[in-house]
């Protein structure tokens, strides 16, 4: 069973993504409401993958990725964001994200992205 860290400052978006994850059989989901909380939770360990937004107060999603990658090179990170420009995608990949999902998205889109790294239904 996968344990996912889900970081997004929008409670609505966290609920939307949580519902998609649950539809994919992922129920062990820890939510972070901003970037600082995300890095603190990640430091405690035990996550199989991270899903993060880009635009968040405190640390941005890119800063979250860079912070995680200072100590962890392997845990898969998927960014889910409205930032769809090629330069943004490139910036995220260079920071260390493993995959990138642009809003709006479907549960099938999330399955395709997350399923590369962790078991999903």
């Amino acid at each position: 069973m996968s344990r996912i860290l889900l970081a997004d400052d929008s409670g609505t978006m966290r609920t939307i993504i949580r519902r998609s994850l649950e539809a994919l059989g992922v129920t062990d989901i820890v939510e972070a409401a901003d970037g600082n909380q995300a890095t603190q939770l990640f430091a405690a360990g035990g996550f199989d993958a991270v899903i993060t937004d880009w635009n968040m107060p405190g640390k941005t999603g890119i800063e979250v990725v860079r912070t995680i990658r200072q100590t962890d090179k392997t845990t898969p990170i998927v960014m889910i964001t409205t930032e769809a420009e090629k330069t943004r995608v490139l910036e995220a990949i260079q920071a260390g994200v493993n995959d990138y999902l642009v809003k709006p998205f479907t549960t099938d889109n999330l399955r395709e992205k997350l399923g590369r790294f962790t078991p999903v239904a």
Binding site: I16, R19, T82, E83, V102, P104
Partner: protein, 151 residues
């Protein structure tokens, strides 16, 4: 020129409804607004800045707003509560964000979405911007996306 701005919002609105709400929208004829009259009771607003500035407004009825919230969050709201406000703000953000990606040459950034509730609310667009209204119909109800951009 106006079509260059409007088409990305036509596509982004259809995409958000199809992918996030599993609902098809039927586009009406876009028109230039002659006055800042209110459209519907609930309006999500987001500002755009970059090589152009502008405002995007996503307007719909309370009932349509609550139906959208129910689909997104899985629970039917009993009233216009903060969950409905957040849900409409998020949909507005996605519509503007997906359109922004199609206007990459303008290097736009999005502001934080604001949601107005009440039929007396008016949306003031940037001066010199000619707001274009794009009406849509859907199984969830009628809605309007309004865009005013100055380059």
């Amino acid at each position: 020129m106006i079509a260059d701005y409007i088409n990305p919002f036509l596509l982004s609105t259809a995409s958000v409804f199809e992918q996030m709400l599993n609902t098809q929208v039927e586009r009406g004829q876009p028109y230039i607004r002659k006055a800042f009259e209110p459209q519907f009771e609930v309006t999500g607003i987001i500002g755009l800045t970059g090589k152009a500035t502008g405002t995007v407004a996503f307007s719909l009825s309370r009932e349509t707003a609550m139906k959208i919230t129910e689909i997104l969050l899985g629970e039917r709201p009993n009233e216009m509560n903060p969950h409905v406000v957040d849900a409409i703000g998020e949909v507005t953000n996605m519509i503007a964000g997906a359109a922004k990606a199609r206007l990459a040459e303008l290097e736009l950034s999005l502001g934080l979405p604001t949601v107005l509730i009440g039929s007396s609310a008016c949306v003031a667009f940037p001066s010199r911007a000619t707001p274009i209204s794009i009406p849509f119909d859907s199984a969830l109800g009628k809605l309007v996306v309004e865009v005013g951009i100055v380059q």
